[in-house]
Amino acid sequence: MQLLFYVFALVTIVGALGMVLSHNIVHSAFYLVLSFIGLALIYFSLSAPFLGAVQLMVYSGAVAILVIMAIMMVRRTDMTVSNPTQSLIKRFVGAGTAALFFVLMGLSIVLTPLGGGDAALPATEAADLAGLLLSRFALPFELIALLLLAAMLGALLLARGGDES
């Protein structure tokens, strides 16, 4: 299990680094899809099969298609220079800040006494999640549905532009 986790983590990290460092924004989007697929595999290996399926469908399916459609709608020039970055000094500052954040998080992970936890229990199936969603988390579930409706209408109105003739 640990070996699988490391392989999937490698896939995810390669995807993330490629997304951040690529000069072509379409390549960036496809590296992001690779990273999402690696994360979905990690969810499967953590015995969260429903979340893995949701990750595959929502992120590496819908979000990726949305991003690529948006890229195609706004970009009409050469794709090879389509992903501009800041100047070199700002990139150094950004890398330093991100590295500092990672070191701080790593220190807090190493120094916090976390109990071992046990992973030998059976996986959380979709039926368990459905029970939780409709009993204990019923109100947030309804609110999320409302949020998705509002976001859909808002995105439609914004992208279409209601008042232009």
């Binding site: 990290i13 997304m19 976390l114 959380t124 988390f137 999320i144 992208a159």
Partner: protein, 113 residues
Amino acid sequence: MSLLFDSVGVQEILALSALLFSIGLYGLFTRRGIIAILMCVELMLNAVNLNLIGFDRLYVHDGSGQVMALFSIAVAAAEIAVGLALTIRLFRLRFTTNADEADTIREFKDFRN
């Protein structure tokens, strides 16, 4: 053989999550295009989801962490839909999608809109 049969610990999950979050943070600082920035935000949200699912797997065991990750995924989907719609709108008004060129509230003088 422990590499094959042992289950993964919480520290590996947390370290991977922190690394993904840092990579997303680097991209957030260094990219100029709005779409690239939105992709970096998605990566950071995914790192947080990994944390939620890892803690649910190892400590909570009743699925509440996974439900929370589901909510997070829904909010992220709403966020990227509205963000991309705003990007398309901005491109129509200014013919650019760079975040640092959208730096005025005033109307752009060549465009009636």
